[in-house]
Subunit: 354 residues, 5 copies
């Protein structure tokens, strides 16, 4: 959750490096699911214990092991032991406030991504860490909570649609990253719609609410940028065909995600510029409206003050005020007030103040 963002970052302070501690929020979600497939057949299993995945890994088919819930640190530890992952990689899987990054050795490739979800209630962009480990013929994915973002890929494997089942584990990794990046567009669409509603609000109904919406959108866009910007470098590594576990034909696909990522960054920057521009429009709208009101009110006051003065003069109690005894003194004074008032209105009109 957004509000807790700065509360967990120092969770591990003072612990020796390599200590495996889960730094995210507690959750009850816990699941280990394996899909084992090739272009002819597939099977799905839910595992109780991580040891059960070992036979799948040894099969020549592609295995995708999805682990939901990182609070069971011993599971991660065992995976590290079985697959010979570096201690720092395990630490990164559990430390769920990482920025996107990629690391690789001769045997495996490790990717950290941020999955973004748009919270419809709080209108906040929540971000969650998804780690992936790509080996020879398997992919591990680690999620904090059970979210259905990978469901379409499971669907494609089951139905043997698309190219996934015809390719190796590296293509599966591509498909998984692709679906996460595609999801960014959904978030951007939501924010884009909000910006457009905001644009109308600013013109028609510039309330103080608008400032808070702008502030919230700015925070969301900051969050997005922080999550997406480093992804560019990650994909730059992946499409450059430098690693031993991604083969050449798949690298070109990562280049495609790279292009999408740059497009996402472009849109984020454009939205940031637009939101910043809206604040200017809002501020000038508000001050304009306020100024109009104050102007009219001040003009009303300004017209009546001299009239009240005239009335005041003839309210004086001097014994010798000849006008007071005139037959038409009263109507003449009223006429005087009318003339003064009309002259002032004309003057203000001519000056374009009214």
């Amino acid at each position: 959750m957004e509000q807790l963002k700065f509360k967990n970052i120092a969770h591990k302070k003072g612990q020796p490096p390599g200590t495996l501690i889960y730094t995210g929020n507690k959750t009850d979600d816990y699941e280990i699911a394996v899909i084992n497939y090739n272009s002819e057949e597939y099977c799905e299993h839910e595992l109780n214990d991580i040891e059960e995945c070992l036979p799948f890994i040894d099969s020549p088919k592609v295995s995708w092991i999805n682990i939901v819930g990182l609070h069971k640190v011993d599971v991660i530890e065992k995976i590290g032991r079985f697959f010979n992952l570096h201690l720092l990689v395990l630490e990164d899987i559990l430390n769920v406030n990482q920025r996107p990054k990629v690391e690789y050795s001769d045997e495996y490739l490790f990717v950290v991504l941020r999955m973004l979800t748009y919270n419809e209630l709080s209108h906040q962009v929540d971000s969650e860490q998804v780690s992936m480990v790509l080996g020879k013929n398997f992919v591990f994915t680690f999620q904090e909570r059970k979210v259905d973002v990978f469901e379409p890929i499971r669907h494609r494997i089951r139905n043997k649609t698309g190219l996934i089942v015809k390719n190796k584990a590296d293509y599966l990794l591509y498909a998984l990253i692709d679906i996460i990046v595609d999801n960014y567009f959904v978030i951007l669409e939501k924010i884009g719609e909000e910006v457009e509603i905001l644009e109308e609000d600013v013109l028609l109904n510039p309330s103080q609410e608008v400032v808070h919406t702008i502030h919230r959108l700015k925070r969301n866009l900051l969050e997005l940028r922080k999550s997406i910007w480093p992804l560019r470098e990650v994909l730059n590594v992946l499409n450059k065909d430098e690693t031993s576990v991604i083969n050449r034909n798949t690298a070109i696909y990562f280049r495609d995600i790279h292009d999408h990522t740059i497009q996402v960054i472009d849109i984020v920057e454009t939205l940031r510029d637009m939101v910043a521009g809206l604040l200017d429009v809002y501020l000038s709208s508000v001050s304009n409206r306020m100024n109009e009101i104050m102007k009219v009110l001040t003009i009303i006051a300004t017209i009546f003050i001299p009239l009240t003065f005239i009335a005041g003069v003839y309210g004086m109690n001097f014994k010798y005020m000849p006008e007071l005894n005139w037959r038409f003194g009263y109507p003449m004074s009223v006429a005087l007030m009318l003339i003064v008032g009309i002259l002032m209105v004309i003057y203000f009109r001519r000056k374009k103040w009214l």
Copy 2:
């Protein structure tokens, strides 16, 4: 259309990569036109089916196949099959919200550009994707809607003016990109004129309208920048003579467009700076004008309030107020008011408040 910009970007979410879906707006425009030429002769045909273009491709002359309307996905698919284009290229042709990019293999070169048009009604810059595939002796161009932007090139081929007919397909590609980039100058000219009109408006008639115009211009310039900025890299690739389908003599021409693109970016940045500066001028104009009004009104009120006070004093009903019984009490009180009023005016004048 501008207003829909953020509504389509997530169109393909959850689809397997390589699924061919047209992400643009529905349109009825549909046309396949072939021009087949060399320096001696040319012929033009409108095709019903994409298969009919195959004989043209096999001719030694240069063929330019222009496809308008991308909603017929099967046409694109067939082209991909006939000319051995990568699935991701086909996807890029149909996904019409791409940023400009270039990709090439040994056999072909693929370019995505954004064609900009200035909508005179809404004063908005609309942007449309134009994709091009350059092969050995052919160029494919893909447009969403029928716009006449390439007409001058057809004209030149028909009249054999210019260098097009004397050169190969790579020169045709250059001519097509050149005409799109030249078109950016037309848009900039329109926006430049708007900025100049705005500049006068800000000084002579600073209404709230101005803020909206500034906001609109900013959006247009953002749109322009987003479309043109990545073009620089595209042309950098093209003029570097690295690809097998562009030969050396033509590469120098792409360098020329590269220079134009940088000039366009320069002008866009200058216009952005100018528009941003105009907002400052506007805001200070408005607040200045408002301040002037408020100052004058407040001064009027300030002069009359003490006078009204004097009138109030002589309106009191005390039994023993000697002035009230004086023979010249009334004119003296009026004189007092006059003196007070005049002194205040003099004081305000000296202070330069009036």
Copy 3:
């Protein structure tokens, strides 16, 4: 202390380079402590004289000599002589306003870091220089004051937890730097919480206090940035395995700190953007609130001024004012005032001014 920051920077002006002068604040803290360990055993000693550390250095175990208090310049000078450190290195140890940097020769590696502490009283980030010299089998650490930041590492050595005791001196250097960088997260967490409290304050209780808090946070974030930004380059050198005193296996750990540092910079930049955004929200909140007050007050005045005018008219002392003698003149005038007042309220309501 923050307030003195700009008062010491020119301390050494006019001194010949290589003159050893301590440029920090006077302090009574002074201590030389040695820990000598390998994976089997360890011993701790407090030394009176720096010469006493020589036997430890010659032992095959790893020695960590922590020197607190830099005002005893002769101690530093002796260390320089014993371990053949360059005069400029000694100068850098004593000149405690350095930016983070790394320097290495064939025999040793010299690192300058800034340790940050959050002063709970003044809500200021204080920064202190920590220098480290890594040799073949020893690490020197130099601190200005006695702060317990390294205590967890001593603890780990004593309890033989973690990887420290299994590794060489270069791993100790890593552990020391790691604990300093981890500490940055603690500071960021504190500032992050302050920003969140501020965010609520800005909405609920936008007092002038807020501006000072924003200014203070900005200064703190500037201080943080200045201390952390150059660290990136330092760690870039360390993880690149270019130096002779860090071996390959340890270099990967420095890469991990490098990632953390970039994450810290990311958060600092995000916080800076958020704080800057909060100033906008605050300013618009304040001016909004002020405008609301002024509007209501002006409306009250505007309603009563015409009513007072009517009262003024019937307060005039003309002899012939027929209304004055009417039987129901008084209630009619009051009714007139009521009607005028109500009409004005209705008008203001319709205009949405009330």
Copy 4:
């Protein structure tokens, strides 16, 4: 002219590339002048036809052919034919809205510069294109209008002062570029003086005029920056001794202009920062002054309103108002008003409002 800047940029739209069209303003200036010199002798000629320059080119001396007026497109075309210049070079000479650039082949070097003049009447910086072609032993210069900027160089050739006559054509090119860059300092000096006058105006006499001056200066500085920034790259090429027509000894001189150009950019950026700062000072001056006025006026009103109230109370017509019948009721009421007024003034003074 500044006002027409955005009106010509799309002049060539739809024309085939390589079409020679002059895109500048019509002018009657037309002149072809040749100076042919070596260290011993020189001769000057005015030519009617461009063919007449051919014998000069063939002479072993250095020839400088200055062409004023680009509307005679056929002259440029002939030069292109005689000297084998690329069609795109000819196009660049005639398209006078280019940014500075350099291009070179084995036989010649082509430079586009912008010559700036300060229009004393409109206080605008006008910019004009100057193109130069350097060959083996000749330099062509192309100007739109007859301006005397090169006169000092002619003077030096005639008097054999300086190093020009002792060197080859490349040194002449250097001298020509040098005089254009030197001219930038003249413009900067003018703008610098304007900024200084403005600085005083902002403090002593902050009128609305100031905003327009600031806006104009910003535009001028934008224009300058646009013209000078790309020059850096041009000179980088020239001083790098990569081209065949510039020899090593002269390259060092281009390095000198490069330094000057960077200095010009420095000053432009400094002036931009200063002008931006002045807007802040102006805005705060104006609002401060306005606030002072409003404060004083409001205080006057605030003092008199309670006094008027007291007068109003004793102006009431109640039958039983004991004060009215007191012998000293009137002076007492006046005293009351005085006391209230003085107390308020004291209160405002103590609050530092007056």
Copy 5:
């Protein structure tokens, strides 16, 4: 002097390059002083004519020739002739508005620096050019005016303290540059103190003065940045051991100055950010204070206007106003006013307006 900064930059316009003209302010300071030293002995001389320095140069000891006053152009010319300096180097020595730079040939190294002094009277940073030429065993320093900045170095040579006398001419160059860079810290300390005083002023006493101080500080920091920023590149060249006249052992010292320079730039940027932040704080302080005053005043007016209205009503002269004849009409009306006033105060209190 600051005020004249933009008046001299175009001094040389139209002069042939290589013309030796002094572009600084006229001064009477003129002095040529030689110090000739090695680790055993030293001698100091004041020369009348530059020829007299030749024997010193030929001695195996290190010679430092300090030339004060550049208006005697012939002296510079002679030096150029004797030591074979390039004409452009001589020009750079005399053209005293250069940005820092370094140039070197096989025989000598030429450095241009800016020496900054803080003018206590005008609170301005003045900048003066110092040029240095390093040869085999000599250093020339060129100053415009006699300032004592190098005195400590003379002192060290005389007393044989420090490393100067033990090293060659390149170390002398290092010491001279070091003392100039150290001096920047003194300036920064002064500005830092000013910023801190300003920080208090902004909170306690936010007068219009503050804006001018901020503007002045900004200018000073701009001046500093302009003088120091290019120094980084200069020192980058010097510490890279590429030149023939600086030997390896000394290069490491230049690296030390390089670090100091980066630190200076860091501090300048921090101060710039702080000053910019202070403007925001000031503006919000002022508008807050103003708003408070206006609010209180408007509330006073708003409370009295309805009361005055009530008084006005009972000041009307209707014949039939029953209240006027009531026994307790007057106290009741006063009570009514009190109640209305108190109710309004309560209302304003509840709304937190008071």
